[in-house]
């Protein structure tokens, strides 16, 4: 039902049909959510061969319902905001067509009832992300960023597809229902599989997540993806698409769970990503890039949670993160819009005077992200750290440190951009954005505040650790301490700063993103270019053996 609605705007491209379609599917999601039933879409054969059956089908279990709500709800608000943001762009209808293609594919991922369908929509989401990042394709940087995003995602998909095929070879099915049934009813079959094979298959699936959710070392595309229009960054590269990786992990958790070492690996990659990205975020100056690295870091939290078997907590954080990160990105978009595409925070300052609504909502978003007690981010981050505390103390320490870093860099961003004094003249000409943009901001701000009180417990299955397991007070105390420390320190360093006060060389390493791009350049791009130089004409092998002798005749000479 949702899908047919979404195909419509692709044909009749117009903003309003796009927004309307979004609203309709939001309503549909609420309906499904309210019924709480196991809604199922009828299945159509996609490819059926002896031993392999792939159907086009959908299912809406509680996990999918939750994700549907987040995707369509946040999506709807961002669509409305985008209309205000992109109003003057000549490619407005092209923009909304691509946005609708994205929503269609995203809902496809959420509703897919088998791995292959999920992969198909997974790739389509990657495609629409490619198209949207490269929306301003005349700009070389945007065209390059789009290409990079797609290629890095393809590396993840390489693992994903092999994982799917391996799972099919092991269990004989790609359908979630059938797989679940086989695994629960045939323990002998599961036990007969060598653990190494299972780990590899699980790791393959996880590689898909690493690509889409930008986990280290496949993280390099996400910051560059900020070349796209800001609503796109909010919708795709903060709230929904990048979270698809985490959603997928939760969806296939019953397979991952069979391999302890795969879970360990997932946990560590998540933890490393979270602290790695938070460190880089300390020293970025582009408002969107800071938020992008923050997204990376938060995704790291979610992946870490899955690695700790805490799928409920991961989904909880996914939901609250979607609210406050969409809010932050849209508010940043409002700032960028008001300042005529200025993104350097050191060229802002005292924006609270000129953009009061944006200021207020950004403040709410910052507090939610940094874990101000009582806001949504506090609860969800808390629950993940609590599980980590019981699972692995080292990972817990990393998580705490990241929480401190988060508080630091967000306060830095906030203080530099919104408080202090106007650093350039342009700031004085800044104006508040129109209502079509501020209203979605306010709605999201409310959601960011109350999001934590919406109990997600009984929707997404079990808790990894019961709440009475002890140490709850300690974890909460420590995270409040981290919040206070981070915020206080950043306030102390930055509240009077006119330019970046941290000039030590160690900070330069952070500013240069630990040289990830340079390492890739050196290890992959250079050797490939060298290969191209020597084999590019492909005349060294076959050409010389076969055509070579004939080339002596002048009638055959090359040019």
């Amino acid at each position: 039902m949702l899908i047919t609605v979404f195909l419509h705007p692709l044909k009749k491209v117009s903003v309003f049909s796009s927004i309307a379609a979004c609203a309709v599917s939001f309503a549909g999601s609420v309906l499904i959510f309210a019924q709480q039933g196991q809604a199922k879409l009828s299945a159509l054969e996609w490819a059926t061969l002896p031993g392999l059956k792939i159907t086009i089908g959908g299912m809406a279990d509680p996990l999918a319902c939750l994700m549907l709500l987040v995707v369509t709800g946040v999506g709807l608000l961002i669509h409305i905001f985008a209309y205000g943001y992109m109003k003057e762009d000549p490619g407005l209808s092209r923009f909304f067509a691509k946005l609708s293609l994205f929503m269609f594919s995203m809902l496809g991922i959420v509703l897919a009832d088998n791995l292959v369908m999920m992969f198909i929509f997974w790739e389509l989401v990657g495609l629409s992300s490619y198209l949207l990042i490269g929306f301003w394709f005349q700009r070389p940087s945007a065209a390059e960023a789009a290409k990079k995003a797609f290629v890095v995602n393809r590396i993840g998909d390489f693992g994903f597809i092999l994982g799917i095929i391996a799972i099919w070879a092991l269990f004989g099915s790609v359908h979630f229902d059938e797989l679940k049934q086989i695994i629960s009813s045939r323990p002998d079959l599961v036990n007969a599989i060598a653990p190494g094979v299972l780990t590899l298959a699980a790791f393959g699936l996880f590689m898909g997540c690493m690509g889409k959710s930008a986990q280290v070392p496949l993280h390099v595309w996400l910051p560059d993806a900020m070349e796209g229009p800001t609503p796109v960054s909010a919708l795709i590269h903060a709230a929904t698409m990048v979270a698809a990786g985490v959603y997928m992990l939760c969806r296939v958790f019953f397979i991952l769970e069979l391999s302890v070492s795969a879970l360990q690996l997932i946990m560590w990659i998540g933890a490393i990503t979270s602290v790695f990205a938070a460190l880089i975020a300390l020293q970025q100056n582009d408002i969107k890039r800071i938020l992008a690295y923050s997204t990376l870091s938060q995704l790291g939290y979610m992946v870490m949670a899955v690695g700790c078997s805490a799928t409920t907590e991961a989904m909880f954080h996914l939901g609250t993160h979607a609210f406050f990160k969409a809010l932050l990105f849209l508010a940043a978009g409002s700032v960028i819009h008001g300042l005529h595409h200025e993104q350097d925070i050191w060229k802002m300052g005292n924006l609270k005077k000129y953009m009061p609504i944006t200021f207020a909502t950004f403040l709410v978003g910052t507090l939610a992200l940094t874990g101000f007690p009582g806001l949504s981010g506090f609860f969800s981050k808390e629950s993940i750290l609590f599980v980590a505390y019981h699972k692995n103390i080292a990972v817990f320490a990393i998580g705490m440190f990241t929480a401190f870093l988060t508080a630091f860099y967000m306060t830095r961003l906030f203080v530099v951009a919104f408080l202090g004094r106007e650093r350039t003249e342009d700031v004085a000409h800044a104006h508040e954005s129109p209502k079509v943009m501020t209203i979605p901001l306010m709605v999201l701000a409310v959601l960011s505040v109350i999001g934590g009180f919406i109990g997600m417990d009984h929707y997404v299955g079990h808790h990894a650790v019961e709440h009475d397991a002890g140490g709850y007070g300690l974890v909460m105390g420590l995270s409040i301490l981290c919040f206070l420390l981070g915020t206080g320190l950043a306030w102390f360093v930055y509240h009077q700063a006119e330019e970046e006060p941290c000039q030590l060389s160690i900070f330069k390493v952070l500013r240069d993103k630990f040289y990830s791009d340079e390492i890739y350049e050196m290890c992959l791009v250079k050797p490939q270019a060298g290969f191209g130089q020597s084999f590019g004409s492909d005349r060294s092998l076959a050409g010389r053996w076969f055509a070579g002798p004939f080339e002596q005749h002048h009638c055959l000479r090359w040019r």
Partner: protein
């Protein structure tokens, strides 16, 4: 014999009659267009009235040469699921190729006769149930291809045409040797050139392991040269780069598939022990097709050469499907054969439009075409997406099934081959980026876009079929699967 049984004969004869009419002075372009459209209609009739039982249908046979106790050649035509899929491909690509042929070409009559004869040869090869005619029809199609490149080709046309002629002629000779070995290795009592009789004979009395060991590589090399299997591939990129649009479309799209079709008919089903003995060689060669050629493709600086190499690379996937030996991999190979044919025709056609409009195909000189010619760019990007295996377009379905099937037989090789999806994404997006995105250049400043559907319909036709396969491949799978069941040795 109902009238439908004569439809295959009609398909083959119509282009010949039309060529005669053109030679006698009929308006070339119009006659050719009507012919290929009529053929497309006839193929659709065949497809709709095709019974779902396996085996050949609509068979018609005419005795030709009979040397008792030596051999007997019959002009036998018939259709099964596999040939039907190839006929659909051929007729659709033929329509597109004729439609995009230049309107004011020099020696117009000869040009269109050549195009029609390629189409006729391809249809005949896919329809023939007799090995002799299978071989002859392919040669009928090759000769006009050489002529088209040699006379109407672009840069380096003589080099390209000569190189291609030498390679393909050599390939045909090896193939002939292989077919003769195949024929004489059959037990004398059941020896036949008829595909139906061959399957009966060999089911009762398969080849000995020693025979298979020799026939297998002969057929592989013979057909392999035609398919541009590494290391016999270097004719293809150069040839396609200088070929005029319809020749590149028909050869890359359709004729190259003849080699694969031949392998499916003779090599996959009857030589399982040969396959076992030679499997490692085959896997190395096909991985070279995917990985080595993939890397070479990445280094290309000309759009047409890039497309040529990319088309060579995708042959590696199809070989992987054939090597898998199970019906999943084989069906995937056929789905990819059809989809790749459509994609190659689409991209080669559009690339020559770009070359015509900008006067260059060097990637560094192009850029910004998406601003100047959005419709043209849109179509090309769809083709590019198809070629790199984006879901929703036919190639993805084919590749996916091939990977599934191949994993069952050779997981390690499949693991390596899947890297191809990363490589193809890199070179395809690189070409798209430097051709269509970025600022406009001197060469692309004055480019005119397609004027709506009138200019673009041949390409839209190809895109439509690609979408039909990609969104719901089941109809195609259902068509070919019974035939694959008979072919799959496992």
């Amino acid at each position: 014999m109902t009238s439908l049984n004569l439809l295959p004969l009609f398909l083959v004869l119509l282009p010949v009659l039309a060529s005669l009419a053109i030679a006698l002075g009929a308006p070339a372009r119009k006659t050719a267009l009507v012919t290929v459209l009529a053929n497309l209609g006839a193929v659709l009739v065949l497809a709709l009235s095709m019974p779902s039982t396996p085996g050949y249908h609509f068979v018609s046979s005419f005795p030709c040469i009979a040397l008792p106790s030596f051999f007997e050649i019959n002009f036998t035509l018939g259709v099964d699921g596999l040939s039907l899929a190839m006929l659909i491909l051929t007729s659709v690509v033929s329509v597109a190729a004729v439609a995009v042929s230049p309107k004011n070409v020099r020696r117009e009559a000869e040009f269109y006769i050549c195009v029609l004869m390629i189409s006729c040869g391809a249809l005949g090869a896919f329809l023939s149930l007799d090995l002799f005619f299978l071989y002859v029809f392919h040669e009928v199609a090759l000769i006009p291809t050489f002529l088209l490149i040699g006379i109407w080709g672009g840069l380096d046309r003589r080099y390209a045409a000569t190189q291609m002629t030498i390679y393909l002629a050599a390939g045909s000779l090896v193939l002939l040797a292989g077919l003769m070995a195949f024929y004489f290795a059959m037990p004398e009592a059941g020896r036949s050139l008829d595909l139906r009789q061959i399957s009966i004979t060999l089911a009762d009395d398969p080849f000995s392991a020693g025979d298979q060991k020799i026939i297998y590589p002969l057929l592989l090399a013979g057909f392999g040269i035609l398919i541009s299997l590494v290391p016999f591939h270097s004719w293809a990129p150069a040839g396609y780069a200088s070929a005029p649009a319809p020749a590149a479309m028909l050869h890359a799209g359709v004729l190259k598939k003849f080699g694969l079709y031949g392998l499916l008919r003779l090599w996959v089903p009857y030589l399982p022990e040969g396959a076992e003995m030679w499997v490692n060689v085959l896997l190395v060669l096909l991985l070279a097709n995917v990985l080595y050629i993939g890397l070479v493709t990445m280094a290309q600086k000309e759009l047409n050469l890039m497309l040529g190499f990319s088309s060579v690379m995708h042959m590696g996937y199809i070989f992987l499907g054939l090597a898998s030996g199970n019906s999943i991999g084989l069906s995937g190979a056929v789905v990819l054969m059809v989809s790749h044919g459509l994609t190659a025709a689409l991209l080669f056609g559009l690339a020559s439009v770009i070359r015509e409009k900008t006067g260059t195909s060097t990637l560094a000189d192009l850029g910004g075409l998406a601003t100047k010619a959005p419709f043209l760019s849109f179509l090309f990007i769809i083709g590019a997406l198809a070629s790199m295996g984006t879901p929703g377009l036919g190639n993805f379905a084919g590749e996916l099934l091939i990977f599934f099937g191949a994993w069952k037989s050779y997981p390690e090789a499949t693991f390596l081959a899947v890297w191809g999806i990363v490589i193809s994404a890199i070179y395809t997006l690189r070409a798209v980026r430097s051709t269509f995105y970025g600022e406009t250049r001197a060469a692309t400043e004055q480019v005119q876009d397609f004027k709506g559907v009138i200019d673009a319909w041949p390409y839209l036709l190809l895109v439509a079929l690609l979408l039909a396969i990609g969104l719901q491949p089941q109809w195609l799978i259902k068509m070919i699967e019974p035939a694959m069941q008979l072919i799959a040795p496992l």
